[in-house]
Symmetry: C2
Subunit: 256 residues, 2 copies
DNA sequence: GAGTGGTCTAGACCACCCT
DNA sequence: GGGTGGTCTAGACCACTCC
């Protein structure tokens, strides 16, 4: 948007033109955050296009996280608030952090990304929970534990962050492996965050190796793209390296 | 999909049922990678639903990166090949890496995420390029340089990776700041990768500080979610930390 | 009950590809 | 020319919210 506007002519299809016009109105403040935009009927009349074309444009804007439609009420401009977190900061405990246990099951790890950690192939204990910040769902966590050692600390995992739970049991994390990727929302994450299918998600797969034999923790943290991003720093790549993750980029919120 | 199938009844709408059925056929091999699936007309007949319902389902599958539709030809199952890269590994130079310069412009940095690096507010030199691996576009790079110092090395930047160009000029990187996030594809990235609007993108914002005064490099690397993911490791979080980024997760390809 | 968004349908035109 | 996907239309039903 900031690049190559190319607003010479309606570049292509009708619904794109409509979408970009609405986007423009959001950018320039014609449509205010948290306020409803005109109904599909009104927009259809204004633009002189059919309803489904309007709806198509709105659907795309929803997929881009710009608006939220509530059936029976209206369509609202989404207020953008994103949290920036340090990657190495595994136990941040922001103020206002709460969590809600969703399920505890026995499952084999099937996710192809997580399999690159070469986890045990047996069924493991799987704890799923939602992490809220200021009563807004920000993270969806799936933690996998070796089934045999987990019984005594499973309660801990359902109320605390993984790293916090480990620390409380005096288990030392010797190594943290992370894989970060993006993915379209599917299944349970859609419900947890109330987002449409295909909505971009930031995923952080983790493997915590510990000094205690047989205890390795695997899992994924997932967040909608507009809620969370993460930062790292690598000081002095040549010569002697120092503490990883010490960042000059502070943890903060910013408008996107 | 691997979680909570809940296939008791058609959970919800028709297009969802159709989508999941097609997804199932892709999973179980009924529809093979790189092979065309039946036309919308045939699918519509088979499922006994209207064409636009089929098209809706296919559009969602496209947004999820499962299929590719080519107008006038057909719809194909996408072969999943993803590259895993280490985060700290800024100059990998894989075999088969080529790049194509797209533009060199003077621009102010406007992206709100990049502004968290607090870059200079003046117009900077902006070099945009596409990075190919095995003739497939994998990365879209936008690099911002201080306009005054860049003239002599701008050619370098258009043919090489940022870090390589710096090394060739004996400029030492003293600090690397990264911000990783996900975002829906918009504008130029859609064209570069041939992906639809809203397609999940993995973004890696970077800031390279150097030992040479006044030279800091800012930029973004963007890749479709199904092409690239990245890994880091943090050994020994307590006590003395050692080399950052030394990873037990190898660089490799895997099927998703 | 009026208004909203979500879904579904039947039918149409176009641009494109392949034969 | 026949097949494909992409777009657009008009019209309909539903579930929901708000008054």
């Amino acid at each position: 948007m900031s690049v190559a506007p190319s607003r010479l002519r309606p570049t292509s299809s009708l619904h794109v033109t409509v979408r970009e016009e609405i986007l423009k109105r959001i950018s320039n403040g014609t449509y205010q955050p948290d306020a409803p935009i005109p109904s599909t009927a009104m927009l259809g009349e204004e633009f002189g296009v059919s309803l489904i074309t309007i709806k198509r444009a709105l659907r795309d804007l929803q997929a881009a996280g710009m608006i939220v439609s509530v059936a029976g009420k209206g369509t609202y401009v989404k207020k953008q608030t994103r949290i920036l977190r340090k990657l190495d900061m595994t136990a941040p405990s922001f103020e206002g952090t709460t969590m809600q246990l969703l399920s505890v099951t026995r499952e084999k790890i099937a996710d192809p990304v997580m399999l690159t950690f070469s986890p045990p192939r047996e069924a493991m204990l799987c704890v799923r929970k939602t992490i809220f910040i200021d009563d807004m769902p920000f993270l969806y966590d799936s933690t996998y534990l070796s089934a045999d050692v987990a019984d005594e600390i499973v309660d801990e995992f359902s109320e605390r962050l993984v790293t916090e739970a480990l620390r409380r049991h005096n288990i030392l994390v010797t190594n943290t492996d992370l894989i970060i990727d993006a993915a379209p929302a599917t299944g349970q994450v859609e419900d947890v965050f109330g987002i449409p299918t295909g909505y971009p998600i930031l995923r952080r797969f983790y493997k915590f190796s510990t000094d205690t034999a047989d205890i390795s923790i695997y899992g994924v943290l997932q967040a909608p793209f507009d809620r969370l991003s993460c930062s790292v720093s690598f000081p002095a790549r040549n010569g002697r390296a120092s503490r990883p993750g010490a960042s000059s980029v502070g943890s903060s919120k910013h408008r996107a």
